[in-house]
């Protein structure tokens, strides 16, 4: 595969949920409603016409407030869901870490759950045999292997989930809010592990509510709002600015590259001015210090001569 080829291409992807059909009513009721003509279906589009593509080595951040369609889009990208309209073309092995802590079985032990989860992620038994100790010690669950899973605290659960999942070596890695796992110490550990995986050359899609994370890690960004695509661009800072303004209620959900650029340069100018002012102040302080020292020396000197006199 050449580097130029897109790892992932989404063209006009739309995903529809159906609300209010036979989902909750059962067969008998469905037949009855069909007969009486009382059967209604409401369509709900979680995503509408999303188009983007990422190349090898890219790190795409997806931002958007709750219900923007991020998770649904990721499900489609990872192949769990089929888009209702549009196409998704994937090249290479996709691994998705979605909602890590769910899908475990409370009745099984930690060890059994580890193997089950590993199997789901496509590991081999030999691989798990080899890495089991490493997984447990990374999750800091040594000595608890044979405890029923339900006895773990929720933090421990997500720690285990993370350490199993972090062994993946995919071509395309999808991370949905997984960088925020566990308590302070583990969070640091998991973040550095994550960076290690990303640094290993995997193409990554990251969904995060932490704008700082998106800013520092991603080179492309996709902004979704209520299922619609607001922006897809490599101007990460610009989009993040617009998004933050939108979040604070200052503006509509729009991204205008020109004004974003203007805002960025304005901000850069302001920063430069600030820096200059700070430098000036430092210089002044230094001068003042020097003058003070001189004065002090002069005072000492005059006192000494006064004493002599």
């Amino acid at each position: 595969m050449s580097d130029k080829k897109a790892m992932l291409e989404c063209r006009g992807v739309s995903i529809r949920y159906r609300i209010g059909d036979f989902k909750n009513i059962g067969l008998k009721e469905w037949v009855m409603r069909r007969l009486t003509g009382n059967y209604k279906v409401v369509d709900f589009w979680a995503d509408r016409g999303i188009t983007f593509s990422i190349d090898k080595g890219d790190m795409l951040g997806i931002i958007g407030s709750n219900g923007a369609g991020k998770s649904t889009l990721l499900k489609a990208v990872s192949g769990i869901m089929e888009p209702t309209e549009g196409t998704i073309v994937r090249h290479g092995r996709v691994s998705a870490l979605l909602e890590l802590a769910s899908g475990f079985d409370g009745d099984l032990t930690i060890k059994e759950n580890t193997y089950l989860r590993g199997a789901m992620l496509g590991y081999t038994r030999a691989f798990l045999d080899r890495t089991f100790r490493q997984i447990i010690s990374f999750a800091e669950l040594d000595g608890l292997e044979d405890r029923p899973f339900r006895q773990l605290s929720s933090g421990m659960k997500s720690r285990l989930a993370f350490s199993i999942a972090s062994l993946v070596k995919p071509d395309l890695l999808i991370l949905d809010e997984v960088l925020a796992v566990g308590d302070g110490a583990f969070r640091q550990k998991s973040e550095s592990k994550m960076k290690e995986i990303i640094g290993g050359g995997a193409t990554t899609i990251l969904v995060s509510h932490s704008i700082g994370q998106i800013r520092s890690l991603c080179n492309k960004v996709l902004w979704l709002n209520k299922g619609c695509q607001i922006a897809f661009t490599d101007d990460v800072a610009g989009v993040c600015d617009c998004y933050e303004e939108f979040l604070h209620g200052h503006s509509q959900a729009v991204y205008d590259p020109v004004s974003a650029k203007a805002r960025i340069s304005a901000r850069a100018e302001a920063a430069a001015r600030k820096a200059a002012a700070a430098r000036q102040m430092a210089e002044d302080a230094e001068k003042i210090g020097k003058v003070r020292e001189l004065l002090k020396a002069y005072k000492n000197l005059s006192e000494a001569t006064g004493n002599m006199a």
């Binding site: 036979f22 059962g26 769990i80 769910s102 079985d105 009745d107 099984l108 089950l116 789901m120």
Partner: protein
């Protein structure tokens, strides 16, 4: 499909293990429980029906057991299988795995139960003074077709169950009816030819009849029987595969 099955072999094994452990954990009798069910049915039926139907028959216990053995397998396999897909919704909505694996895992589990009951069945045959012949080996055939049949029905039901939760209740009623229509504790000799034809259309009854033919009569069932069993099994599997192929991407929206 075989290729994906091969790549997911490890997951499949783990799923089977999980189902097995979950079912038998914290029970002293363990696997014994699942054998107890057909045995208790057998005991009650023998107690109640022997006076009516068993008077003119040799080996009535074995006759009963043949029926119970096959029918309990069918009933357990289909009702357990029905929940297999929905019960694993937490998995297939998060990870991209072939969905039929869950049903296959539950099929394997009920097959193991059946195998254990089969051992008890042979023991009862021996107690009942049934003559063991090489023809017993033929039983592998109806077991294979029944496994396929159960799996096919399980595929269809598990798919349906995702869409219509009340299928569970309806199916239980149907199984109850089918039980009475499968000649488990009576013989169909006294019925008119037309009624007998109706029995012949019941795949579960056909499997039971195969067992009886071999075990009680020491005979080899007809070619027509063999073909029918294979045909029924194939039809069930095709129906199941069709459901999964057709609705594979839809399940997600209904869990």
């Amino acid at each position: 499909m075989l290729k994906t099955l091969k790549t997911h072999r490890f997951l499949f094994e783990e799923l089977v293990k999980r189902d097995f452990k979950k079912k038998y954990k914290r029970t002293i009798l363990g696997v014994g429980w699942s054998m107890l069910m057909p045995l208790m049915m057998l005991f009650v039926m023998k107690l109640v029906f022997e006076q009516f139907f068993g008077r003119n028959m040799d080996h009535y216990t074995t006759y009963l057991f043949c029926g119970n053995l096959v029918f309990c397998w069918f009933s357990e396999s289909t009702s357990l299988g029905m929940h297999s897909l929905y019960g694993n919704a937490a998995i297939f909505t998060k990870v991209n795995v072939p969905k039929y694996l869950f049903l296959f895992a539950s099929s394997v589990q009920t097959l193991i139960n059946f195998a254990l009951t089969l051992v008890v069945f042979f023991f009862f045959c021996w107690m009942d003074g049934v003559e063991f012949t090489w023809k017993f080996l033929l039983l592998a055939y109806p077991i294979a077709t029944m496994l396929a049949f159960n799996t096919g029905i399980g595929l269809v039901l598990s798919a349906f169950f995702v869409f219509f939760r009340d299928i569970d209740y309806l199916w239980r009623v149907f199984v109850q009816l089918l039980m009475y229509g499968s000649a488990i504790f009576y013989t169909i000799d006294g019925y008119s030819p037309r009624m007998q034809l109706a029995f012949a259309c019941n795949p579960v009854y056909r499997h039971i009849a195969y067992f009886r033919e071999v075990v009680l009569n020491g005979a080899v069932p007809s070619l027509e029987t063999h073909l029918t069993l294979a045909g029924v099994a194939l039809a069930a599997i095709i129906a199941g595969c069709y459901m999964y192929k057709r609705y594979n991407t839809e399940f997600l929206y209904y869990v």
